[in-house]
Amino acid sequence: MDNRKSILAIIFIFAFFMTGLLIYPQSGWTKEKQPSGKVIIFNAGSLTIPFAKMEKVFEARYPNVDIIQESAGSRKCARKITGLKKPCDIMASADYTVIDQLLIPTYADWNIRFATNRLVLCYTNTSNYAKEINAQNWYEILLKKDVVWGHADHNIDPCGYRSVMVLQLAEKYYKKPGLFKKLIANRPQENIRPKSVELISLLQTGNMDYAWEYRSVAVQHELKFVELPDRINLGNYKHDTFYKKAVVKVTGKKPGTFLNKKGKSCTYGITLLKNAPKTQAATAFLQYMLDAQGGLKILKDMGQPPFIPCRVPTAEMKARLPKALRDLVEVRE
């Protein structure tokens, strides 16, 4: 008799725990409103470092959320969504027009401009004429025979053709006909590197005096840099009509073919996808990211000037934002 009782007791306790386990995930015992799950972010390569830092801070705040970053070129990110139909919650692009052109209206409803970047001329203490260079005379110094300067390969790295665009715009801005040709003539082909980041080691080892980089890269690598006027640094989308005057020929789909790249500002855009698997957690991340004290501060510290507050082009688009994000953006052309 006793034996049977204890067996019953064991079965009862076992059943109790099993039901407990089964109910647990959906039950009110956990904090119901706490966002959780895996949030997948497709982001532009240049955002990798600041986003990694945001991920850390955010995950410390929301331990149930796991942020997964996949970085690639901005267009490639969009193609993964439209072409490969890969699941994704948030897409952050180094060129906000990619979201406008490829994702809206089918895959996303809105597009928030949240940061900019711009081209700067980097150097170190040991660069020739390091003491003299400034925003007025930089092109004269780049024309000197004893100055070694370079940029990324314009066929491989967008930073490469953007650097060439800055030189083209400089000729128009400073009204010095022939300046672009003269500058390129003083930049032997050997001074080109496949990716802009590789130029940094050349600067730091004293093999090169000046190199063109994104401002964020310069800040993240603690380089000295010359800031150029907004009209030529490709950093302000209000000058897009002027930037368009810069045209660089880059290689096309096969050797011997070419296509033209037109100048455009480096303006970053972000969106939440309509069919995001984890809308709630992704919105929470965006809420943190677009906050002046949160993600935007990290961007700023890492040299990528954010828009504070972030911008959407129309009031109508603002109305389409998730409620939690509406207060973080302003309507501005």
Partner: protein, 260 residues
């Protein structure tokens, strides 16, 4: 005769390794069409880069031969304090990650270093120059020459040299008339190994010199700019040349074995 299981183990391991090496290579070699291959080899830039690869690798091997032979001989013939250390230093370039080699060479070649300052006074540039490429290739290739040549010298009995010396020949004439004729095959193998290693180098070179482009750098550039389709044919041509090198190496060692 009945084969032992051990024999079959050796054979099956051999087959796995052969497949492991050959399958990816065959896949790559057979991917581009004949037309693509023809078009590629007619591309002046491709020919120039392959030629530059061969030429710089050859120069690296020549430098290794001239500078390395005496050291290899010294290491084979004499015992001295710190010999082990010298030998491990020689092997260092094999163990260091390739981009690190490039960065290391650039860091002494820049004007932040006194060597770089002297070089610049002399008008010698390492970054983005053929000189730079040869420097890198020698750095990565020289251990292969030294080790092969050393093994060759060690295989020759010092007695032969002693006889020559006792008959009145000087040290240098002993080397050229006795040691060299006996060891030249190992030295040649060393040169070929060094050459093959140099031809395949990418990581260190791309840091020191992107332009002028050697073939492996061009393969990378084509891959980045146009994709696999246009980088493969260049790779096929380069691999064919490397295969040729190794074929010569095998033939040479085969002859060697017959003689002994």
């Amino acid at each position: 005769m009945k084969r032992e299981p051990f024999f079959w183990i050796t054979v099956s391991c051999g087959i796995v390794i052969m497949a492991f090496i050959l399958l990816p290579l065959i896949q790559m070699m057979s991917a581009p069409s004949a037309g693509m291959l023809k078009e590629t080899i007619q591309d002046k830039d491709v020919v120039r880069s392959i030629w530059l690869s061969i030429y710089t690798a050859g120069l690296a091997a020549l430098i290794s031969f001239v500078l390395g032979t005496p050291l290899a001989y010294l290491l084979a013939r004499s015992a001295f304090k710190g010999k082990r250390l010298v030998e491990s230093i020689i092997d260092l370039p094999i163990a260091i990650p390739h981009p690190v080699v490039g960065i290391a060479i650039l860091s002494v070649a820049g004007k932040n270093h006194w060597i770089g300052q002297i070089l610049s006074e002399l008008g010698i540039r390492i970054m983005g120059s053929v000189t730079g490429i040869v420097t890198v290739l020698t750095f990565v290739g020289i251990p292969f020459y030294l080790n092969a040549a050393k093994a060759g010298f060690e295989g020759i009995s010092p007695r032969l040299e002693k006889v020559s010396r006792s008959l009145g020949a000087s040290m240098s004439s002993t080397f050229f008339r006795i040691t060299f004729p006996l060891a030249w095959r190992s030295m040649l193998i060393g040169i070929i190994m060094c050459c093959a290693r140099a031809i395949s180098e990418f990581g260190a070179v791309v840091i020191v010199a992107y332009h002028p482009m050697i073939a492996p750098v061009m393969i990378y550039e084509r891959f980045e700019a146009y994709g696999l389709k246009y980088s493969q044919p260049v790779a096929v041509w380069l691999v064919s040349i490397s295969l040729l090198l190794f074929l010569i190496l095998r033939i040479l060692t085969l002859e060697n074995r017959k003689e002994t």
